[in-house]
C-alpha cells in the first residue's frame, strides 16, 4: 500500500483536512460494531487510498471489497456499502441483497453515500424494494488532497455530466467543498470566475454563504485571498495536446492513478515476470518534486548530471582517504540512490515512447493545429488516422483539438469524418459523436474561428523557448503556452478587466465578486506583479490563490502554475483544486459511450 501523500509543506493546513476525513470514516466504522465487510466502488477506492491506509481499515475489523455485479462472498453479517451517490451503482446493491434473500442469508446492510444522501439513488432502492433493509447514512468526503498543493473533488465525470447530460450536481458539490474550505480557512474575499459552470459555482457559493455564513469575525484574516474558477470548457485545447513535462508524460503513457503509476516490475529493474508494481508519484519523493514539472528533455539531462556527479564522488571515495564527515555526506547522497534508479528506469521507459516516430508525428500535428496553419494537412492526417484505425481516443483528441481551434468543421468535412469514424470504429460510436456534439467539442462550423485572435492576444505560441531555463509557461508544451494558465496569469495579475475583450470570445460568461467584510484588506485589482508588503500575511507567508478547474486539469497545467508561483515577483502561493486530474486521454474517454 502506497503511503499517503506528504502534506506538511502545504501552504494551508491540508493535513487537518485529511485527518478530519479519516476521522469521519473511522467513526462510521466504529459505530458499526464487530467484523464487517466494507464494499466500496472502484473509483472511490482510489480516492480513499489517499485518505486512509488500508491497514487502518483492517484494524477496525474491516474486510474490504470492491463493488461488483456478483454477490458478495463474506462471512461477515454486517455489510457496509460506501458508494458515490451514482444512480447506476444502486442496482448492484439491490441485486446483492436479493441474492442473499434468495439464499436465505441474513445480514445487516448499511449504505453510506459519498459525499451525501441522494434522493434519486434512494428512489431507485425504494423501487427495487430494498430501501427498508438498509440503514442509510452519509460520509461527507467532498475533496481529497492529492499533494501538498493539489486538491481533487474526485468528480471524474463532472465535465461530461455538465456538458452532455445537463446534470450540474458536480457544481453544487464543488461549491460545497469550497465552502467547507472556507469554514477552515476563512471566507475567500476575491472570487473570479470564467465559464458557465464557474460563474454558477461562484453564485452557489455566495448563496451558501448567505444560507450558512462562515463567521468571518472569529477567523481573522482569511488564509486564502483569491479564488479563481475556470471551466475546462473555456480551454479544451490544452488538455488535448500531449503533455511534455515529466509527470505529464508519465500520465500520457502510463496513466497516473491517484498519485501513483502501475508498471510491470521488469521496467523498474525487478526481475519478477508479469508482476505489477505501484510507484507512488508525489512530492514526498524529493527527486520527483524537483523534476516532475520540468520538460522531459531537461529531466533527462538533470538525471544524467546527477548520475555523473555521483560517479565522481564514488571515484574520489575509492582513491583518497576520507574523513568520517565526508564519508557521512557520501552515504547521505547514496540514500537518494533508490530514487535515482526509480526515475532513471521510468525515464528510460518513457523514452521508448517518446522516440517513436508516431509520437513525434502527433506532436508535430498538434503544433500545426494549434498554430492554425495548413487546415488541409491536419484534415488529411486525421483522416489517415481513422483509416488506419488508430486507437479511437487518439483520433478523438486530435479531432477535438481540430474542431475547437476551428470553432467547428465545415459541414462537408464534419459529416465525412464522422462517417469515416463510424465505419472504422463501429456504429455504436454514434452516441459518442452525439455526446461530443452536445458538448460542443466536435461540431459543425457556424461562425468564423477566433482562435487566431486569441492565440495572438494571449501569446499562446512562444517561439524559441529554452526548455532548460524557461522564462515562460510555454515550456510545458515546448512552445505552446496553455490558454487556461494564461488566463490564470491574467486573473492573478490584474483581474479580468484588461482582457475582457478576449474573454468574450471564449465560451461562457465571466464574473468577479468581492465577498466578506474585508473591504479594508488590500484589493489587488490595482496591484502589479510586484509583491506589495501589505499583501503578505503577517507571519511572512505569501497569500494564497486557489485555482479551481471545473472539468479537470492536466499535470502539465499544474506544472505551469507551479512555475508561475516560483517566479520572482510573484506575490502568491497557488493551490489547485480540480474535479479530477485528467489527461486528454481520460477526458476524451468520458465521452465514449459504452454500448449497452
Amino acid at each position: 500500500m502506497a503511503q499517503l501523500p506528504y502534506l506538511d509543506n502545504a501552504p494551508v493546513n491540508l493535513t487537518s483536512l485529511r485527518d478530519q476525513s479519516q476521522k469521519e470514516l473511522i467513526t462510521i466504522l466504529k459505530n458499526i460494531r464487530g467484523k464487517k465487510c466494507l464494499v466500496i466502488d472502484q473509483k472511490l477506492g482510489g480516492s480513499l487510498s489517499l485518505i486512509i491506509q488500508s491497514s487502518l481499515l483492517k484494524e477496525h475489523g474491516v474486510e474490504l471489497r470492491h463493488l461488483a455485479p456478483e454477490p458478495i462472498q463474506t462471512d461477515c453479517t454486517k455489510v457496509i456499502y460506501l458508494l458515490r451517490a451514482q444512480l447506476d451503482l444502486m442496482k448492484f446493491i439491490s441485486s446483492h441483497i436479493q441474492s442473499d434473500i434468495a439464499k436465505g442469508i441474513q445480514r445487516e446492510y448499511y449504505l453510506y453515500f459519498v459525499p451525501r444522501r441522494s434522493v434519486a439513488c434512494e428512489k431507485i432502492l425504494e423501487e427495487e424494494k430494498v430501501h427498508h433493509l438498509l440503514v442509510v447514512g452519509e460520509y461527507p468526503l467532498y475533496m481529497v488532497p492529492m499533494d501538498e498543493d493539489v486538491l481533487s473533488f474526485e468528480l471524474d465525470l463532472a465535465y461530461r455530466e455538465c456538458q452532455v447530460d445537463g446534470d450540474t450536481s458536480a457544481l453544487w458539490h464543488i461549491a460545497k467543498a469550497i465552502h467547507k474550505l472556507e469554514f477552515s480557512f476563512g471566507v475567500i474575499p476575491n472570487v473570479r470566475a470564467k465559464g458557465r459552470a464557474s460563474v454558477r459555482v461562484a453564485d452557489i457559493l455566495s448563496s451558501m454563504q448567505a444560507e450558512e455564513a462562515v463567521n468571518s469575525a472569529d477567523m481573522g484574516v482569511p488564509e486564502i485571498n483569491t479564488l479563481i474558477l475556470l471551466d475546462r470548457e473555456v480551454d479544451m485545447v490544452t488538455p488535448m495536446c500531449s503533455q511534455l513535462t515529466y509527470e505529464g508524460l508519465v500520465d500520457e503513457f502510463l496513466h497516473v492513478n491517484n498519485g501513483s503509476v502501475e508498471l510491470d516490475a521488469s521496467i523498474m529493474g525487478v526481475q519478477q515476470e508479469g508482476k505489477k508494481i505501484k510507484v507512488p508519484l508525489n512530492s514526498s519523493d524529493k527527486l520527483f518534486k524537483e523534476i516532475r514539472d520540468l520538460n522531459f528533455e531537461v529531466v533527462v539531462q538533470v538525471l544524467r548530471q546527477k548520475a555523473t556527479s555521483m560517479k565522481q564522488d564514488y571515484r574520489e571515495m575509492t582513491t583518497t582517504t576520507q574523513t568520517v564527515s565526508e564519508l557521512k555526506d557520501f552515504v547521505k547522497k547514496l540514500n537518494s540512490l533508490p530514487e535515482m534508479t526509480r526515475h532513471i528506469n521510468l525515464a528510460q521507459h518513457l523514452s521508448t515512447f517518446t522516440s517513436k516516430p508516431s509520437f513525434l508525428g502527433r506532436l508535430d500535428m498538434e503544433h500545426t493545429i494549434v498554430e492554425a496553419q495548413s487546415y488541409d494537412i491536419c484534415f488529411e492526417y486525421i483522416e489517415e488516422m481513422i483509416h488506419k484505425q488508430e486507437p479511437l481516443v487518439n483520433v478523438l483528441r486530435l479531432l477535438i483539438l481540430f474542431s475547437v481551434t476551428n470553432t467547428g468543421l465545415p459541414k462537408k468535412h464534419f459529416d465525412y469524418l464522422r462517417r469515416e469514424l463510424l465505419h472504422s470504429y463501429g456504429f455504436e460510436h454514434m452516441a459518442t459523436l452525439n455526446n461530443l456534439e452536445k458538448a460542443g467539442l466536435l461540431k459543425k462550423q457556424e461562425s468564423k474561428s477566433n482562435w487566431l485572435t486569441i492565440k495572438r492576444a494571449l501569446q499562446l505560441v512562444v517561439d524559441d523557448i529554452d526548455t532548460a531555463n524557461p522564462n515562460d509557461i510555454a515550456y510545458v508544451f515546448s512552445g505552446y503556452a496553455p490558454l487556461s494558465i494564461r488566463l490564470v496569469q491574467q486573473a492573478i495579475r490584474s483581474g479580468w478587466r484588461p482582457i475582457e475583450e478576449i474573454l468574450k470570445t471564449l465560451p461562457g460568461p465571466h464574473s468577479e465578486i468581492k465577498r466578506g467584510g474585508f473591504s479594508s484588506s488590500p484589493s489587488f485589482d490595482a496591484l502589479p506583479g510586484v509583491p506589495a508588503s501589505a499583501d503578505k500575511v503577517a507571519d511572512g507567508r505569501r497569500s494564497l490563490v486557489l485555482v479551481v478547474f471545473i472539468g479537470g486539469v492536466t499535470f502539465a497545467e499544474i506544472s505551469a502554475l507551479r512555475f508561475l508561483s516560483a517566479q520572482e515577483g510573484m506575490a502568491y502561493d497557488l493551490i489547485v483544486g480540480t474535479t479530477k486530474i485528467v489527461s486528454g486521454h481520460t477526458l476524451a474517454e468520458t465521452f465514449i459511450e459504452k454500448s449497452g
Binding site: 444512480l87 447506476d88 451525501r116 441522494s118 434522493v119 434519486a120 428512489k123 431507485i124 423501487e127 455530466e161 447530460d165 445537463g166 446534470d167 450540474t168 450536481s169 453544487w172 454558477r200 452557489i204 448563496s207 448567505a210 444560507e211 455564513a213 522531459f296 528533455e297 533527462v300 538525471l303 544524467r304 548520475a307 560517479k311 532513471i344 528510460q348 523514452s351 517518446t354 522516440s355 516516430p357 513525434l360 506532436l363 508535430d364 483522416e383 489517415e384 483509416h387 488506419k388 484505425q389 459529416d415 464522422r418 462517417r419 469515416e420 463510424l422 465505419h423 472504422s424 470504429y425 463501429g426 456504429f427 455504436e428 454514434m430 452516441a431 452525439n434 515546448s478 454500448s595 449497452g596
Partner: protein, 837 residues
C-alpha cells in the same frame, strides 16, 4: 445605624442566622390553602391550585364544578380550566422540571397540563394493574413519580419525558404503610429509583428488583423526607422524635425530641443545614445543635423546598426562609467590625459628608478587595432593591480605592441583579435567589419566560446577556400565529416579519411550517418566501402544495438533490403529460429527469421525448436498446434476435428522417442496419460467429484475413480506406506475395507509405526494401531507411532532401549503437535518446 434593623430580622439557630424576607403579598383573593390541593413548582415556578376533593369543604358562592387554577409565585392568575376528568379522585399533582403539571387520579391516569392550563395529549396510564387496584398515594420527585395502590403495590414512572411505567418489587405489605419517601435515581447506586416505605417499626427499601429491610429499631416512622442531595433522611417517629440519618441508615446524625405525639403536617429540608416541621399553627426549625427556632402562623402554609432554603406560601404572603449568607452576616451582624462592615459604614459616612469615611477606609486598606467582594456578594443575595443598591454603591466606592480588583465582577453582578429583579417583579412572579438562578441557568429561565408568554422580557434578557435570540423570536412568532386566527394573512405577515428580521439566520421555514399546521397555508407560503436556506424552504413548499415554486427555488439553489426531491414529488402527484409540461419548462429538472429515466425508466423517457417532439432522442434510445439486445448474453450471435435488433434500428432511422434535421444520423442508422444484415449473412456462409457488431473496417479486414477477397470487395464501401485495410490485413497474415501483387495492381492512391509501414511494423526489412525506393518524398525515404537501420541509405536520402535538421536527427539515432564499456557509461547511455522537437 441602618444595619441594626437588618440584623434584627434574623433568628439565630445555634451559630447560624436565618432570615425570612417576604417575597410577595399574594395577588389572589379568597384563596384558602387548607381547602385546596396545592402544587408549587420549585425555582420560583408557578402554583397550581384545585379544590381538594378528599376533604369536605363548604362551598360558598362558587360552582360545584372544580376548577384547576394556575398562578405565578406572586399569586397572579395565569390560567384556569374546569376539571372534569373521569377516573376518580385526584391523588396527587406536581410540576415536572420542564414546568408541566402532572395530575394523577385514582385509576392511574396521568393528565398533563402546561402553564396555560392546556391539556397536553396524550394522557399517560400507569398500567392495567394500577387501573384495577386504584392508586391511593404518590410521591413525586424532579421528573418522576412513585404510586402506591390499594393492594400496596408500588408503580413508578422514572421519567415523564419518556413515560414508561414500571412496577417495583412487591413489598408484601399487610397494611397500608405509614409513610413513603423516594431517593432519586441520580443518587442511588443502581441508577434506579429507590422507595423508602415506613411500615410497623422499620423501613423497607423497595427497588425494581428487590426489597430490603433497613432502619431496624427506629420505631414506627410517621413521616420522612430525603434531603436534596439524597444522602440524608429526616424521620419523624411515633414518639415525637425527629431523627436525621444517612439514607443507608448507617448512622444517626442527630436526634431531637419534639414533644409532640402528633406528626407534623409537613416535613421539609431547609437547604442542607436544618429541617422544618410544620404543625397547624407552628413552624419549627431544627438544626443539629442548639435550640430550634419557632415561627407562629395563624394561617395554613405550604413549604416549598429550594436548593438554598424554603419558600413558605400562606394565604396572603410568600416568604423565603434561608440561612443568611456569610457576606451579609459580616456586614450587618450587630457590632461587626469586619472590613466589609466598615466599608459599608464608610459609604454611609461618605453620603453624610463625614470625614469618618476616610478613617474607615484607612482602617481596612489592606483587606479592601475582600470587603468589596463581600459587598458584591451580599448584594447578590439581597431581595430588596434599595439594599442591593446600597451594597453595590459600597462596593463601587471601595473599588475606586483598590487597584487590583477584578472590575468586571461588579458589572457582572449588576447584570445578574437586573435580570433577577426583572423576573422577581410580581407581574412575572419568579422569585429566584441568585443561587437558584445559577442552578436554573439563564437559558432555561428564558425558556420558562417564553413558555409563560413573557416574550418581550425573554427577548430583552437574552439580548442583555448576549444570548441567541432565535429561540425567543421563533417561539413568539409561532405563538403569535396560533393566537391570531382573526388577523388577515398580509397584516400578520408584516407583524411577523418585523420581528423575525431582528434575528439573522432564523428559520422562516420553521415558522411557516407552524403556520401551515395551524391551517394558514397562504401565510405559510408568504413566510417561506423569506427563508434563505433552500434545503429548508423547498421541502416545506412541497408540503404546502407549492410545487412550482418549489421547483423554481430548487433549481435556483443549484442543489440537484433538492431538484430531484421536487421532481419525484411532482411525478407522483401529477398526470404524466402535465408532469412533462412542468419539467420541460425547467432545463435542470428536465435534464435530471432524463438522466434518471435513462438509468431506470426507458419507456417513460420515450413518452417524454414523444410528448415534447424530440423524435431524434427517441431514435437514439431505440438505437441504444438495439445494442443492449446485442449484448444480451441470452442471445447468442447469429440468432433470430438480430431480426428485432434491425427492426429497432430501422425504427430509429425512420424517426431520424421524420425530424428532417438528422440526415446524417438517419443515413448512419440505415448503413448500420445494412451492415448487420450483411454480417449476419457472412456468419451464415462462413459458419463463424465473428462478424456481428464489428465495424465496417473490421469486417473487411476479417474477410481478407480469411482469404475471402470477394466478400471483402462486397463489403468495402470506400476506396481509400480499402488500401490501408488491405495492406494491414495482408501484413497481419504475413502474405507478402499477395501484398506485392496488390502494390502492383495499380498505382495506390495513397502512395507506398502504407506498404512500408506495414512491413516495418511486421519487422520484415526485406519486404520493406521493396517499397521504400518507391516513396516519392526523400524525407520519408530517409526516415524509413533509418527505421530499418540502414544508415548509409538514410543519409543519402536525407542529403537528397537537403535537410540538415533531419540529418542531425538521424545521426543522433545512430549514436545509440556505440557500445558502452563501464557500468556507469551504460547508465548514461541509457539516457542518451533523442529529445523531442
Amino acid at each position: 445605624m441602618a444595619s441594626v434593623s437588618v440584623a434584627a430580622e434574623w433568628q439565630l439557630l445555634y451559630s447560624r442566622y436565618y432570615r425570612k424576607p417576604e417575597l410577595y403579598q399574594m395577588q389572589w383573593k379568597h384563596i384558602d390553602l387548607s381547602r385546596n390541593k396545592v402544587a408549587c413548582a420549585p425555582l420560583g415556578g408557578p402554583i397550581a391550585i384545585i379544590r381538594d376533593d378528599s376533604k369536605i369543604v363548604q362551598l360558598y358562592a362558587e360552582s360545584a364544578l372544580r376548577k384547576l387554577r394556575i398562578y405565578n409565585s406572586a399569586g397572579l392568575h395565569l390560567s384556569d380550566t374546569v376539571w372534569k376528568h373521569p377516573g376518580g379522585r385526584l391523588v396527587g399533582m406536581s410540576w415536572t422540571e420542564d414546568q408541566t403539571l402532572v395530575c394523577i387520579v385514582q385509576d392511574g391516569t396521568v393528565y398533563k397540563y402546561n402553564i396555560h392550563c392546556d391539556l397536553i395529549e396524550p394522557n399517560i396510564s400507569m398500567g392495567k394493574e394500577c387501573f384495577e387496584q386504584s392508586v391511593v398515594d404518590c410521591v413525586f420527585w424532579g421528573n418522576g413519580v412513585v404510586c402506591i395502590t390499594e393492594s400496596n403495590q408500588l408503580f413508578c414512572i422514572p421519567d415523564f419525558a419518556n413515560p414508561q411505567p414500571c412496577k417495583l418489587a412487591d413489598p408484601n405489605l399487610e397494611e397500608f404503610p405509614l409513610c413513603m419517601a423516594v431517593i432519586e435515581p441520580q443518587y442511588t447506586m443502581s441508577g434506579n429509583v429507590e422507595v423508602l416505605v415506613g411500615v410497623a417499626d422499620h423501613v423497607l427499601l423497595v427497588e425494581e428488583d428487590g426489597i430490603q429491610q433497613v432502619g431496624d429499631g427506629i420505631g414506627p416512622v410517621q413521616k420522612m423526607v430525603v434531603s436534596r442531595n439524597g444522602k440524608l433522611l429526616a424521620l419523624f417517629t411515633h414518639d415525637g422524635r425527629l431523627l436525621v440519618v444517612s439514607t443507608d441508615f448507617s448512622k444517626i446524625i442527630f436526634e431531637y425530641n419534639c414533644e409532640s405525639a402528633l406528626p407534623p403536617e409537613q416535613l421539609a429540608w431547609c437547604g442542607m443545614d436544618s429541617v422544618l416541621l410544620y404543625w397547624d399553627d407552628m413552624l419549627l426549625m431544627v438544626g443539629p445543635y442548639g435550640d430550634p427556632v419557632r415561627y407562629i402562623y395563624d394561617e395554613p402554609t405550604v413549604l416549598i423546598p429550594e436548593c438554598d432554603g424554603v419558600r413558605i406560601l400562606s394565604n396572603t404572603i410568600m416568604e423565603f426562609l434561608q440561612r443568611v449568607p456569610d457576606s451579609t452576616v459580616s456586614i450587618f451582624k450587630i457590632g461587626s467590625t469586619s472590613p466589609a462592615a466598615l466599608l459599608y459604614d464608610a459609604l454611609d459616612h461618605f453620603d453624610r459628608r463625614s470625614s469618618k469615611a476616610d478613617e474607615n477606609l484607612r482602617l481596612i486598606r489592606s483587606s479592601l478587595p475582600e470587603a468589596v467582594e463581600a459587598c458584591i456578594d451580599a448584594a447578590g443575595h439581597e431581595f430588596d432593591v434599595s439594599r442591593q443598591r446600597t451594597l453595590l454603591r459600597a462596593a463601587s466606592y471601595g473599588q475606586t480605592f483598590c487597584s487590583q480588583f477584578q472590575r468586571d465582577r461588579l458589572q457582572e453582578i449588576c447584570k445578574t441583579l437586573r435580570v433577577l429583579n426583572a423576573v422577581r417583579h410580581h407581574e412575572i412572579g419568579i422569585p429566584l435567589s441568585i443561587q437558584q438562578y445559577k442552578v436554573l441557568t439563564p437559558s432555561v429561565l428564558v425558556g420558562r419566560l417564553i413558555n409563560s408568554h413573557n416574550h418581550l422580557l425573554a427577548l430583552r434578557i437574552s439580548e442583555y446577556l448576549g444570548m441567541n435570540q432565535e429561540v425567543v423570536i421563533m417561539h413568539w412568532a409561532c405563538t403569535k400565529i396560533t393566537a391570531s386566527l382573526s388577523i388577515p394573512d398580509a397584516a400578520l405577515l408584516e407583524v411577523l416579519l418585523d420581528k423575525l428580521r431582528l434575528c439573522k439566520g432564523i428559520s422562516y421555514a420553521a415558522v411557516a411550517s407552524h403556520a401551515d399546521r395551524n391551517g394558514r397555508r397562504k401565510l405559510a407560503a408568504m413566510l417561506v418566501e423569506h427563508e434563505p436556506r433552500s434545503y429548508k424552504q423547498v421541502p416545506l413548499l412541497l408540503s404546502i402544495g407549492e410545487e412550482d415554486t418549489a421547483l423554481m427555488k430548487a433549481s435556483e439553489s443549484g442543489d440537484t438533490d433538492l431538484v430531484y426531491l421536487v421532481l419525484f414529488h411532482i411525478w407522483q402527484k401529477r398526470p404524466a403529460l402535465e408532469f412533462f409540461g412542468t419539467i420541460q419548462a425547467r432545463p435542470l429538472a428536465r435534464d435530471l429527469f432524463i438522466s434518471y429515466a435513462r438509468c431506470c425508466n426507458h419507456e417513460f423517457l420515450k413518452d417524454f421525448f414523444l410528448s415534447t417532439g424530440q423524435l431524434q432522442d427517441v431514435a437514439f434510445l431505440l438505437w441504444k436498446e438495439s445494442w443492449e439486445l446485442g449484448n444480451n448474453p441470452m442471445a447468442s450471435r447469429g440468432s433470430p434476435l438480430h431480426g428485432p435488433r434491425i427492426k429497432l434500428i430501422e425504427k430509429a432511422q425512420s424517426l431520424f428522417t421524420e425530424t428532417k434535421e438528422h440526415h446524417f444520423e438517419s443515413k448512419a442508422a440505415e448503413e448500420h442496419a445494412k451492415l448487420l444484415r450483411l454480417q449476419h449473412e457472412l456468419e451464415v456462409t462462413t459458419k463463424q460467429a465473428i462478424f456481428v457488431d464489428s465495424s465496417i473496417s473490421d469486417t473487411i479486414r476479417t474477410c481478407i484475413v480469411l482469404g475471402n477477397h470477394r466478400a471483402a470487395m462486397k463489403v468495402r464501401t470506400e476506396f481509400k480506406r480499402w488500401y490501408w485495410l488491405k495492406v494491414f490485413a495482408l501484413a497481419t497474415i504475413r502474405d507478402w506475395d499477395a501484398l506485392e501483387k496488390f502494390s502492383k495492381e495499380k498505382r495506390p492512391p495513397i502512395g507506398y507509405r502504407p506498404f512500408v509501414e506495414a512491413c516495418i511494423d511486421a519487422d520484415e526489412k526485406g519486404e520493406a526494401l521493396k517499397y521504400i525506393p518507391k516513396l516519392s518524398d526523400p524525407r520519408e525515404r530517409a526516415e524509413s531507411y533509418a527505421r530499418i537501420g540502414m544508415a548509409k541509405e538514410a543519409a543519402e536520402a536525407a542529403s537528397q532532401a537537403k535537410d540538415g535538421e533531419l540529418l542531425g536527427r538521424l545521426k543522433l539515432t545512430f549514436a545509440q549503437n556505440t557500445a558502452a564499456s563501464s557500468i556507469f557509461d551504460t547508465l548514461r547511455d541509457r539516457l542518451s535518446f533523442q529529445g523531442m522537437s
